[in-house]
């Protein structure tokens, strides 16, 4: 247990140092994910027109919460993993008595900590400019929202890492992620709150992983009505299914690996 704690601490501290090497890029990466803030502008205008249930203040809070959740759930493992497989850089990692995925997990978790000051700065600036939008989530909403955000990151990571494993068979596994991202964009609640979708569409997508990647944690933070227990259960089921497929693909893929270029 002691050794495990040392391992985790070492991985996180070294990868944190690694991420801080890219401090200028971190600010750009934070800004590059400001699509929710743009969508906020669009939907606030629409809300003022009185076309739907959310007020323009609700819309502003929803999208700033989307921005925050996105900051904690961004995943890029497929781009790194694809390069490792195609260029044979996976080889040194495979020769260590630890699953290579932990390097990626440590990188992602550390990056979250490294980008935190930048994201926080942007959120504070937003509330200074638009103080009416400031709100405090209920204590339970905050706790469940944080848990849902951690799970959303876990689910997104598992899904993308599972796509990444196709790099063992195809040269550009990232193409799968790019197609998936289209659905993610619309069905996760990033472009529009799912409350604005027709009921039949919503009834279907609640059984997909998409709403749990953004909409569910955001709803908990801003206090939109959402079935908490059922949502967590669906999330956990998708995580479990993803893990099973992931490990199956890993075992098959590793036999396919040829350590190209190495």
């Amino acid at each position: 247990m002691n050794m495990l704690a040392t391992r985790i601490k070492t991985f996180l501290s070294i990868y944190y140092a690694y991420m801080l090497e890219y401090r200028a890029e971190l600010l750009l990466w934070v800004l590059a994910n400001s699509l929710p803030l743009i969508m906020m502008g669009v939907w606030s205008q629409a809300a003022e027109g009185g076309q739907f249930s959310l007020t323009s203040l609700d819309v502003a809070r929803y999208f700033i919460a989307v921005f925050i959740v996105r900051q904690f759930t961004i995943v890029w493992v497929i781009w790194d993993f694809e390069r490792e497989v195609v260029e044979g850089k996976l080889s040194p990692r495979l020769l260590q008595p630890i699953d290579p995925v932990w390097h990626h997990v440590a990188g992602h978790v550390s990056e979250r900590l490294a980008r935190l000051p930048f994201s926080a700065g942007l959120v504070i600036l937003f509330f200074i400019l638009y103080p009416q939008a400031f709100w405090l989530p209920s204590p339970m909403g905050l706790i469940w929202g944080c848990i849902a955000t951690v799970l959303a990151f876990t689910l997104r990571f598992i899904i993308q890492y599972t796509f990444a494993l196709f790099a063992f068979w195809v040269e550009r596994a990232t193409a799968i992620e790019q197609l998936w991202f289209l659905f993610y964009l619309f069905l996760s609640g990033m472009i529009a709150p799912l409350d604005l979708f027709p009921d039949t569409v919503r009834a279907i997508i609640v059984w997909t992983p998409f709403p749990y990647l953004i909409y569910f944690p955001v709803s908990l933070f801003v206090g939109l009505p959402t079935p908490i227990a059922k949502s967590f259960l669906v999330m956990l089921l998708w995580c479990g299914l993803g893990l099973v497929i992931n490990r199956w693909l890993w075992r098959r893929g590793i036999k396919q690996y040829s350590g190209m270029g190495a």
Binding site: R7, I14, Y18, S91, P92, L94
Partner: protein, 327 residues
């Protein structure tokens, strides 16, 4: 106890084949053609603990593929392989703790951080205590003369320093078996010598087993008594380096400096003329004819200087690979 056993090891790769030009591109898009490449064919050898063995072959001969099978990176298509009592491709933690693979053209150190940070990650991976970590880093950096370099970002190190740091990272867990693929690639002569000396010292200090590929014959002659020659995926020689020399180099090289520029035809009667440059000539003479030929040369030419040496090992190995057999 035999440490490394390869028994009729095979590896076949499917390789996509594409005709050049637009037509070829179109047909490749709609119907991919594959060709099976036999990278390694029925390779068998055994290595005892503590041995240092050179693994030689031209580019594409199957050296790296064999090393990948021995380290468990790839699955053999057929045959048996055992390293330190383990089946490599199962990649058990116990097996991985006993081996290392160093590839001259690949790096494992985090590029933008000091090497020491990557070493700390390795220490965590291999469960090395802090005290032991400090001791091993000190010991290895002394052996590799890396004092003060481990706190610099890896990208700021010279190629030689980086390669030494890679070696340090690869050996931090004190592996018993070292697979080294071109460990001195691109290094200058001084760096090559220090890497060789380090490997020799490591082998002696820890009785480590080493299988080494290199295109620098100086690496092989300095470290290996035994060599394996692989050609087009097949093992064509397994034995002592000096026996290979004796068997495949029944010649000695005679270098002459003469008073006058010699006629090539006149020289050819004493042996195989390698080069005539001005008043200097190099000829290969069969060992059994050596005394007689030298006496004749001294009698028939005005010789100002004469040396007799073995031909360079690169030439001998080159001849073996050209003929594709040692028989």
């Amino acid at each position: 106890m035999t440490f490394i056993i390869c028994d009729h090891l095979d590896k076949d790769y499917p390789v996509a084949v594409k005709e050049p030009g637009f037509k070829g591109t179109l047909s490749h898009f709609f119907q991919r053609q594959h060709r099976l490449v036999k990278a390694v064919q029925s390779v068998s050898f055994q290595i005892e603990p503590g041995e240092v063995v050179g693994f030689l072959g031209p580019n594409g001969a199957g050296k790296t593929t064999t090393l990948k099978m021995l380290t468990g990176l790839i699955h053999p298509s057929d045959g048996q392989v055992r390293v330190a009592g383990h089946i490599p491709f199962r990649r058990s933690a116990k097996f991985l703790e006993k081996i290392t693979l160093v590839m001259g053209q690949k790096h494992q150190l985090l590029w933008d951080l000091p090497a020491l940070d990557s070493l700390k990650i390795n220490a965590a991976v291999y469960k090395i205590s802090h005290k032991e970590f400090k001791y091993r880093v000190q010991e290895l950096s002394d052996m590799l003369a890396l004092e003060g370099k481990l706190t610099q970002p890896v990208r700021k190190l010279s190629l030689g320093e980086r390669m030494k740091a890679e070696l340090l990272a690869a050996l931090l867990h004190r592996p018993q078996v070292l697979f080294l693929d071109e460990p001195t690639l691109g290094l200058d002569v001084n760096a090559q010598v220090s890497v060789r000396e380090f490997l020799r010292e490591y082998n002696q200090r820890y009785d480590a087993t080493i299988l080494l590929t290199s295109h620098y014959m100086a690496d092989i002659t300095a470290l290996c008594d035994r060599v394996l020659l692989i050609h087009q995926g097949q093992l064509i020689y397994d034995g002592a380096l000096n026996q290979l020399m004796a068997r495949f180099a029944p010649y000695r090289e005679v270098k002459l400096e003469l008073m006058q520029v010699p006629e090539p035809a006149a020289m050819a009667t004493y042996g195989e003329v390698e080069e005539i440059a001005g008043r200097e000539a190099r000829i290969l003479v069969r060992r059994e004819d050596l005394t007689h030929s030298i006496a004749q040369l001294l009698a028939n030419f005005q010789v100002t200087d004469l040396t007799v040496t073995d031909p360079p090992i690169e030439e001998i190995i080159g001849r073996v690979f050209q003929s594709g057999t040692v028989a």
